[in-house]
Amino acid sequence: MRKRIPDLIKKLLFYEILQGLALTFRTMLKPPVTRQYPRERCEPKPGFRGRHAFVRDAVTGREKCVACQKCSIVCPSRCISIRYETDGKGVRHLTKYEIDALRCIFCGYCESICPVCAIVLTEVFEYASYSRQGFVYDRERLLMNWDDFATKLKRPFYFNMFWRPAGSDPRRLSVGKRQQQPIRIQQQAESSKVNVDRNIATTAMDEKTPATEVGK
């Protein structure tokens, strides 16, 4: 009986509900954890699997793809289509490379398998288009995606974690992956600027594309 009386008082005073309310009030005084998204941006972590891009080669100013078709083979959603021509020496030249981003499930297998570190999933996660065709990324569009990503990147170097995953056995990696150095972003931005000046058509396309305008 003696033990029951405090229980009764607790019950009458709504003790457990008051406890909960006390916690709520304590939490109210703490700084909020909610991010006000369009105004407060969160930076995706390095290696985030976002919009696709072709790494622009600093030497040639073009993509590094060698048309080995490995990415289109491993792709679980089969969203990559590749066409190539073989010249007299047996070297493949890419004629068409298309990624249907609406089909893509962003598993990162393509960047895992790419032997020359050509295709990457960048950290861009906010992109939109008014048409389905705006999500079919061809070669030019993939290079533009890279420029768009590289100019906005805040780190001085870019190295995709799928190129050499930490702790992976180097014997399982291709030569191109083993030799890949971190890409200096400042250089990339400059080279892309030169390229854009040279190619007016590309810039015109860039302005038309509403992809990067969303959420500004």
Binding site: I17, T24, K45, V74, I113, L121, A166, G167, D169
Partner: protein, 401 residues
């Protein structure tokens, strides 16, 4: 024909009510047809298939590696658990031994996914019953785990972090430190959730004695996971059939006794603590070494092996005939199960030696639990149906596959 709606008649009529597929408290696209006598549920028929994507059929045309991102989409709240379940099945089928470090890393991500799944369950379950604050608190802690997932594999929900024969990449010391900080912070947070609802009389009234299923019935309906343990049956695959590093960590399996919504809730809350304990042990005992087994098949495993060359001996035909196709993977079939956050996630795989599974079948806990909904709901009030659905922690992505 019976007279309908005549004023003054005292005929009792049963009402059939469609709950779902678009109902905020049915956790996805679950549709229940409820037979109501007043406010009392007399019959309950679950309808599934609104989220059917044919993952099992799709798997037959994907390579062994290519199936793994599909398993992300089963129980999309704890996708790392599905990945590990699938990878374990393939490893057992192929006879691949996973390195120690990878085993520990997998156990870590499995428990991380269990905690994030249970946090989401608690959040939505509490929200269904009317406790809004818990919902916000749970998402606050879940964010920390999702950030860790994002760091280690580049995605927050559809992680694809494990690989057949190991994991994608090693965890950096900074990640482990962040996880360690989480495990130190988390027990206090569990106490916070319990302060909000554990003894709250509204919560007790809504959950105690509601949706009761006896241990015998629970076994007969094939329930697994916390839903079964809430009824007092000791069955946990982590303890009974240890995989990865579960045989090297020390943890308790919480048990309920009454088999009602409250006991299932208590089981999951205790599981949060135990998962936290497992995480701490794994971080402390993480061995050095490889993260991927040496005999893992390559990511670009060919769909078919090369054909055996047999020289044609007949005169006049100097060509070479093709013999049998060489297998690229061991043949056989296997059923392998893991203790996913929702219950026993079983994968039945059949290999005919080619680069893709001949057949994949998923025994998903949510599908089995959806069947037992009728048993738990009948005789209760219509408002309790919501509590029962929350307490079995159903995810339609896994249920419909």
């Amino acid at each position: 024909m019976e007279p309908v709606g005549v004023a003054g008649t005292e005929s009792r009529k049963e009402l059939t009510l469609n709950m779902g597929p678009q109902h905020p408290a049915t956790h996805g696209v679950l549709r229940l047809t409820l037979d109501l006598d007043g406010e009392v549920v007399t019959g309950c028929t679950p309808h599934v298939g609104y989220l059917h994507r044919g993952i099992e059929k799709l798997a037959e045309s994907r390579t062994w590696h290519g199936v793994m991102p599909l398993t992300d989409r089963l129980d999309y709240i704890a996708s790392a658990g599905n990945n590990i379940g699938y990878c374990l099945a393939v490893e057992r089928l192929f006879g691949i031994e996973v390195p120690d470090r990878a085993k520990y890393l997998r156990t870590i991500v499995f428990e991380m996914s269990r905690i994030s799944s249970h946090l989401l369950w608690l959040a939505t379950h509490a929200l269904d019953i009317g406790a809004m604050t818990v919902f916000l608190y749970c998402f606050r802690e879940r964010e920390w785990l999702l950030d860790i997932f994002e760091t280690i594999c580049g995605a927050r929900l559809t992680v694809s972090y494990p690989r057949i024969g190991g994991v994608l990449q090693d965890m950096e010391p900074a990640v482990l430190e962040s996880l360690d900080a989480f495990t130190r912070m988390f027990p206090g947070k569990i106490l916070e959730y319990e302060t909000m609802i554990d003894k709250n009389r509204i919560w007790l009234d809504r959950t105690q004695g509601v949706g009761v299923i006896s241990a015998r019935d629970a076994l007969r309906w094939g329930l697994t996971g916390p839903t079964l343990r809430g009824s007092g049956v000791m069955y946990d695959l982590r303890r009974d059939v240890p995989y990865d590093a579960y045989d090297r960590v020390d943890f308790d399996v919480p048990l309920g006794s009454n088999g009602d919504v409250y006991d299932r809730y208590r089981c999951r809350m205790e599981e949060l603590r135990q998962s936290n304990r497992i995480l701490r042990q794994c971080i402390a005992a993480l061995p050095q070494g490889d993260i991927l087994s040496a005999n893992t098949p390559d990511l670009d495993i060919p769909l078919m092996g090369k054909k055996e060359l047999v020289p044609e001996m007949s005169l006049g035909n100097a060509s070479i005939a093709f013999g049998d196709v060489l297998p690229v993977a061991p043949k056989g079939e296997i059923y392998s199960a893991v203790e996913a956050p929702k219950g026993e996630l079983g994968l039945y795989l059949m290999s005919d030696g080619s680069g893709n599974p001949c057949r994949m079948r998923v025994r998903s806990p949510s599908y089995v639990h959806a069947g037992a909904l009728a048993k738990m709901c009948e005789g209760g009030f219509i408002a309790d149906v919501i509590a029962v659905i929350g307490s079995i922690d159903i995810v339609m992505g896994e249920c419909d596959r």
